[in-house]
C-alpha cells in the first residue's frame, strides 16, 4: 500500500498526486514511468514519473476513463494498492547543444523533469507547451523555471501563441540551430509535431503510450513498430526516434478496448451517482 501525500486538480480534467513510493522515487530518472493499480479490482495503468522529492513521486494525469477518474477522487491519506517502478529506459540525455522540449496536454507532465535533466547536462533548453485552451494548460511556472526560454501555445489563443505547439516549434527551428527535440503528448500530436523536425533531420524523441499490462516486457501488449521492427515500449522505450515510429499503428492499437472502456466508465459514473459522490468503489 502506498500513501497519497497530496492530491489536487491542476487544470480542466487534469490532476496531480504525490505518492509515497521510495523504491520508485530513489531510482527514477527523467523519461521513466511507473505502473499503478488502485485497488484489488483495479487495472494496471502506466503513468510518467513527473517529479521526485525524497521518497515521494508525483504523477499527473488526465481523467479519461474509469481508472483515471477513480484516481482523481483520491485524497491525501488515501492509499494506492500498488505502485511499481521505475519502468522503461530513461531519456537519453547528452550534451547536444540546444534542446527543445515540447509538451501537449497531459503530456506536459513529462516535460519539466526532462528539461531539467537536459539543462543540467549543459544544454540550452527551450520549452514549448501547448493545450486546447488556457483551462487545460498545466505546469507553466515549473516549465518556465526548468527551461532557458518558454513558449506557450493554445489552440484557441486563450493564452500565449494562437495555434499549435507544432507551429511554435517550426518557428524555433527556423530561427536557430536545434540539436535535439523531445515531443510528448497525445499520439496524434506527436505524429504531427515530429513532422516539423523531419526535413532538417533533427534528432527527435517521442514518448509512446500504448496499452500496457505488466510494464516489464512479459506480455507484448505494448508492442509498437519502430524502424520496421517490433519493439516493446515498456522496456525498449517508452522514448523512441520519432521519425521511425509507426504512429497510425500506435493509434489503432490504443483503440483495442474502446467499447469496453466506454462501458466501464459509464458503469463507474452510474455507481458514483448512486453513492452520491466520488464513488471509490468499483
Amino acid at each position: 500500500m502506498y500513501r497519497v501525500i497530496e492530491a489536487g486538480q491542476l487544470a480542466d480534467r487534469i490532476f496531480q498526486i504525490w505518492v509515497e513510493a521510495p523504491h520508485v522515487a530513489r531510482h527514477a530518472l527523467a523519461g521513466q514511468f511507473l505502473v499503478i493499480r488502485i485497488d484489488e479490482h483495479g487495472e494496471r495503468i502506466p503513468l510518467t514519473v513527473s517529479a521526485v522529492s525524497g521518497d515521494l513521486v508525483r504523477i499527473i494525469f488526465m481523467a479519461v476513463g474509469k481508472t483515471t477518474h477513480q484516481l482523481s477522487t483520491l485524497k491525501a491519506g488515501d492509499f494506492i494498492r500498488d505502485v511499481a517502478g521505475p519502468l522503461g529506459r530513461p531519456s537519453e540525455i547528452g550534451m547536444f547543444g540546444t534542446c527543445v522540449v515540447v509538451g501537449g496536454g497531459a503530456g506536459i507532465a513529462s516535460c519539466p523533469i526532462i528539461a531539467r535533466a537536459a539543462r543540467a547536462a549543459g544544454n540550452h533548453v527551450i520549452g514549448i507547451i501547448g493545450a486546447r485552451n488556457a483551462g487545460f494548460l498545466i505546469l507553466e511556472d515549473e516549465m518556465r523555471e526548468a527551461c532557458d526560454d518558454l513558449f506557450v501555445a493554445t489552440d484557441d489563443g486563450s493564452r500565449g501563441f494562437h495555434g499549435f505547439a507544432a507551429d511554435v516549434l517550426k518557428e524555433v527551428i527556423e530561427g536557430r540551430k536545434v540539436d535535439c527535440v523531445w515531443i510528448i503528448g497525445p499520439a496524434i500530436m506527436m505524429k504531427v509535431t515530429s513532422e516539423v523536425t523531419r526535413p532538417k533531420g533533427i534528432r527527435t524523441f517521442v514518448s509512446l503510450n500504448p496499452i500496457m499490462v505488466d510494464g516489464t516486457g512479459m506480455c507484448g501488449s505494448c508492442r509498437v513498430q519502430v524502424g520496421g521492427e517490433t519493439k516493446f515500449a515498456c522496456v525498449d522505450g517508452p522514448e523512441f526516434n520519432a521519425h521511425e515510429v509507426d504512429f497510425d499503428l500506435l493509434m489503432q492499437r490504443q483503440r483495442t478496448y474502446f467499447d469496453e472502456e466506454k462501458a466501464s466508465l459509464e458503469r463507474y459514473h452510474e455507481r458514483a451517482c448512486r453513492c452520491g459522490e466520488g464513488g471509490h468503489h468499483g
Binding site: A84, G220, S221, L249
Partner: protein, 463 residues
C-alpha cells in the same frame, strides 16, 4: 464423482464433466476422498529400492509418505513431503508425474503406476484445510540473501535459505508473488487460493516478500550485490511472436498477455474487475504446448469457439497428454499439421491464413521436421489470435549485471549447483534452463540454495 476403488484396483481422480466445467473457472479435478487415497496408497509395494524417488527432481521420500497415508496419518504424510517440497498442493496438481515419479513406478510395467501426484495433492489439501504447519527455521545466521523473482524457483530458494536461518528478501516485479503459478496457469488447473496459502508459509518463516519491486530498477544491481548472496529466479517470461504479417492487428495476443489478463487481472469478470480482454466469438491459438492448451481452454471458458493450430502431428504435441484430452473434451478443435503464415484483417483480426505442413525426416528428438506444402493455403475465421509459441528469459535484469555470462537464448549460464559466472550470484529455474517445468525450477533452486548456504557458512567460519 470418481470411480469406486477396490483393493488393488487403480483409482482415477474424479473429473467434472466437460460440459459443466467449460462454463466456469473452478477446478477440473475433484481430488481424492480419504477412502480413495487410502485404497490407492495400499497399492504401493513399498519397494526396497524405490524407482519413483529417482524420477522425482526434488527426491521426495515417496514410499514413506504413501505409507503414512495407508496408516491414515495424513498430516504425517504432509510433513514428509514438505521436507523436500514446500509446494506440494501446487506440484500434486501441475507436475508431469507420468514422466517423473509415476513414469518410474515399478507398477507401471504391470498394471498402472501408483497415483503419486493425486496422493501428493490429497495430503497437501488435507493439511491446508486444517491450517498449514509452518516449517521450523534455524537460528539466525545474520547473513542476508536477495532472491529475485517469486515463481517456483524463487519461492523454493527462499524457503530453503530461510529454513537454514538466513535473512531472505524476495523481490517480485508484479503485484502478486507466485510467477507463472499466479499469472500463467489458469485456476481451473491450479486454484489461486492454493498457491496463496503455500506462499503464505514463507511469510510465516520470516521471509520478506516485496512486490512491485523490479530488480534492476527498484533495486539497482549495485544494491543486490550488497547482499551476502543473490539468487536469480526471474523465469522465462519474454513472449516470442511468429513475426508474420498482421501480427500488430488488434486482437492478436501473446499467450502471456491473454493469460495474465484473465488469471492475474481477472478480465473474465470485467467490468467487476477493471481489466478488459477482447470478447471473441472465434479464437485461433497457435502452438501445441501446455501454454497453448491453457490459452485454448481459457478462451473456451470465455465462450469462444476455439481452434488450436499446431504444425506437427497429434502425437508430437508437447503438452501433457491429459491436458490435450481435456482440451478436446472441452470442445477445443485441433487443426494439426498446419501453420499460420499471415493474420488477416484491417485494424481488428478477421482470420488467419494457414498452410498445410508436410512431415519430413525426423529430427534429433525423433520429431518430424515439418515443411510447408505449396499451394495448400486455407483460412480460418477468427476475431482473436493467441500465440503460444514459446518464451525466453527476460533480458531486463540480466543485461544490467556486469560480468554475468548468458547463453545464446539469453539464459544465465550456471553449473549444476546454480553458480553463475559471478561469485555470490546464483540462478535456477526457467531463467537458467529456458522454459521448463515447476518441479525442475524447484529442484534447481534447492540445489542452488544449498550451495549458497554452504558458501555462507564457510564465509562465517573464515571470519
Amino acid at each position: 464423482m470418481s470411480a469406486r476403488a477396490g483393493a488393488g484396483k487403480a483409482v482415477t481422480m474424479g473429473e467434472r464433466p466437460a460440459r459443466e466445467r467449460v462454463r466456469d473457472f473452478s477446478e477440473v479435478d475433484c481430488g481424492l476422498s480419504a477412502e480413495e487415497a487410502v485404497a490407492e496408497a495400499e497399492r504401493c509395494l513399498q519397494c526396497k529400492k524405490p524407482s519413483c524417488i529417482k524420477g522425482c527432481p526434488v527426491e521426495i521420500d515417496i514410499p514413506l509418505f504413501i505409507a503414512r497415508i495407508a496408516e491414515r496419518d495424513f498430516l504425517g504424510a504432509a510433513r514428509i513431503i514438505k521436507e523436500a517440497n514446500l509446494l506440494p498442493a501446487v506440484c500434486g496438481r501441475v507436475c508431469p508425474q507420468e514422466v517423473q515419479c509415476e513414469g518410474a513406478c515399478i507398477l507401471g510395467g504391470k498394471e498402472r503406476p501408483v497415483r503419486i501426484g493425486d496422493l501428493e495433492r490429497f495430503v497437501a489439501d488435507r493439511e491446508r484445510e486444517q491450517g498449514l504447519v509452518i516449517p521450523p527455521v534455524a537460528e539466525p545466521t545474520g547473513k542476508r540473501v536477495a532472491v529475485v523473482g517469486s515463481g517456483p524457483a524463487g519461492l523454493t530458494a527462499a524457503a530453503e535459505l530461510a529454513r537454514a536461518g538466513h535473512n531472505v528478501t524476495v523481490f517480485e516485479s508484479l503485484h502478486e508473488p507466485g510467477g507463472v503459478l499466479m499469472y500463467g496457469i489458469p485456476s481451473f488447473r491450479l486454484p489461486k487460493d492454493v498457491v496463496q496459502a503455500e506462499i503464505d508459509q514463507l511469510r510465516g518463516m520470516g521471509v520478506e516478500i516485496l512486490t512491485n519491486h523490479l530488480a534492476g530498477a527498484s533495486i539497482p544491481v549495485a544494491d543486490l550485490h550488497a547482499y551476502d548472496a543473490v539468487f536469480i529466479g526471474t523465469g522465462a517470461g519474454l513472449p516470442f511472436f511468429m513475426n508474420i504479417p498482421g501480427e500488430q492487428l488488434n486482437g492478436v495476443y501473446s499467450a502471456n498477455e491473454f493469460l495474465t489478463r484473465v488469471n492475474l487481472m481477472h478480465a473474465d469478470r470485467f467490468p467487476e474487475y477493471d481489466t478488459p480482454v477482447r470478447h471473441a466469438g472465434r479464437v485461433v491459438v497457435v502452438g501445441g504446448g501446455n501454454v497453448a492448451m491453457d490459452a485454448a481452454r481459457v478462451a473456451r471458458r470465455l465462450g469462444a469457439r476455439v481452434t488450436l493450430v499446431y504444425r506437427r502431428r497429434e502425437e508430437d504435441l508437447p503438452a501433457r497428454r491429459a491436458e490435450v484430452i481435456r482440451a478436446q473434451q472441452e470442445g477445443v478443435e485441433f487443426e494439426l499439421c498446419a501453420n499460420p503464415v499471415r493474420i488477416l484483417g484491417s485494424h481488428f483480426v478477421t482470420g488467419v491464413e494457414c498452410v498445410r505442413m508436410e512431415m519430413c525426416s525426423l529430427d534429433d528428438s525423433g520429431r518430424p521436421e515439418p515443411s510447408p506444402l505449396k499451394g495448400s493455403n486455407f483460412t480460418i475465421d477468427a476475431d482473436m489470435v493467441i500465440q503460444a509459441i514459446g518464451q525466453g528469459p527476460n533480458p531486463l535484469l540480466i543485461r544490467k549485471i556486469e560480468g554475468i555470462t548468458y547463453g545464446r537464448k539469453g539464459n544465465i549460464l550456471v553449473d549444476e549447483e546454480g553458480r553463475s559466472s559471478l561469485e555470490k550470484v546464483f540462478a535456477a529455474g526457467d531463467v537458467a534452463t529456458g522454459a521448463a517445468t515447476v518441479i525442475l525450477a524447484m529442484g534447481g533452486a534447492k540445489k542452488a540454495a544449498r550451495a549458497i548456504d554452504r558458501m555462507l557458512r564457510e564465509d562465517q567460519r573464515d571470519h
